[in-house]
Point group: C2
């Protein structure tokens, strides 16, 4: 297969899980109708971004993966013949939860899941209260349309995560996301923050000679204004598609495997990695000698 089409979706979540999932299904059908073969939904697609506060009641929103929601979307995937990246709030055991994405193949097969490895904890983003850091490591899956990897939101700031996903052969890395502006930061830092977010992911695309695709929610929840702008970058770091900042949208883009091949032939970065010299990547910081 020389190319396939991906689709990203973004919408403003509401209070009710059932409505959010209906909206997600509608967007998946729309993206498939627009030609998407592999569709990625936004982070925690079934709920509001409840991590704005720390409230044990929100654990009621979690579910098993696989479970009822993945079963429902597996049927849709099979019906439409599309691959799905479906991010949900996972209940693993009583008192043990993850921020997870399920990967479903075009025949409805549940291929596996990725559990978010890097968990933020910042004003308005209290994820360490809810989510145990992932323990499945980095993953890539062979799907009906190509090999894909999945990372989630805060992971996008970590070159190590993208590298370890690309090293498994992922030709595109999906990033379901929930990132937005806080009102006290937006006037002075808003544009810079968006630039940083997009740029670091474009950088991962270049460093790994792969495509990057981020699906980010829209809408204002409490004081947090999610900035949408789901986008796709090619191996040159060029943004080949970008959704609006505050409109519900689906975005499709071609994953051109010949372009990826050409890039890695001209700039064969993987050939020259100094794997003998990276040991201290596993340290927290490199302190001065005492």
């Amino acid at each position: 297969m020389k190319s396939f089409t991906i689709g990203l979706t973004q919408f403003a979540a509401g209070e009710f899980v059932a409505s959010n999932l209906d909206l997600a299904e509608r967007q998946v059908r729309e993206a498939a109708g627009a030609g998407a073969n592999v569709i990625c939904l936004q982070e925690m697609v079934s709920t509001l971004y409840f991590c704005r506060t720390e409230d044990p009641a929100h654990f009621s929103l979690a579910e098993s993966i696989p479970g009822a929601t993945t079963d429902r979307f597996a049927s849709i995937a099979k019906e439409l013949g599309i691959v799905l990246v479906l991010p949900l709030f996972e209940k693993r055991a009583t008192g043990l939860y993850h921020n997870t994405a399920a990967v479903i193949d075009a025949d409805g097969t549940f291929l596996g899941k990725y559990r978010k490895m890097h968990i933020p904890e910042d004003p308005g983003f209290h994820e360490k209260f809810y989510f145990t850091p992932g323990d499945l490591g980095y993953r890539a899956w062979d799907t009906a349309f190509g090999k894909i990897g999945v990372l989630i939101c805060w992971d996008q700031w970590y070159p190590e995560a993208a590298r370890l996903t690309a090293m498994q052969g992922a030709n595109v890395i999906f990033y379901p996301t929930a990132i937005g502006w806080l009102p006290e930061e937006k006037p002075t830092l808003g544009a810079a923050q968006h630039t940083a977010w997009e740029t670091v992911q474009r950088g991962h695309a270049v460093a790994n000679g792969c495509y990057i695709a981020a699906a980010n929610r829209i809408g204002t929840e409490g004081e947090t204004e999610f900035w949408g702008q789901s986008f796709v970058a090619n191996p040159y770091g060029e943004v080949v598609g970008r959704a609006p900042e505050n409109e519900e949208a689906i975005l499709t883009a071609e994953i051109d495997l010949e372009k990826l091949e050409e890039f890695r032939r001209i700039w064969p970065f993987f050939r020259d990695r100094r794997i003998d010299s990276y040991g201290q990547i596993g340290e927290r910081w490199i302190d001065d000698a005492p």
Copy 2:
């Protein structure tokens, strides 16, 4: 110190080492006159980019580091009270050469050297013939004006190199560079290649919350058109200064340590690195299970 000023220089090299070094000295004096405290020159500042072909005669261009050229520029650094990153072709022993940058403090002290770790070998860039890959690892130095790191050209495509330099406390990473277009690629890929080059380095700035500063030569040597455009990016990945594509230039920019501090407080990426999960960074590729 809350900030300091860096300077980058770019020029078209000629055949004669003496003339190139005179030009380099003039640019250093000009940059210092413009307020630069820490000045980085382009890769292999004393010579043409001789790696376009494989010719043993070019080994005559190499010199000891420290040696006559670092002594000359150490005197200039002391006279002007500036820190210098001085990239030269290093002869370490008969038959053993490196692509190296010397770091000289503002009192003329030779602080040490960085030997390029990642060595390319591509049409027009036959560096594996000339340079043994560096064996000093990644480095950062305390200088009179701040802690700096140095990487060289092909290193810029490797997030691992930037990470390991930043983890030593470098607030700015300098990249002396010699990158350009080949005539058979420029019409179709030239713009994308420049975007990729700038973007991946801007990504390193974001991922590590530091400044990045690349000094690239200009001029056409043989068929290779070096693209200049030396630039500085801040921790948000914003380009805060960029030199022209084909004009001799010095570029100055402020390294604002308060901005760096603010960035890392709002987005404390180093806090959340999953150092338990990065072990396979030291592998060549992650193959499917047999």
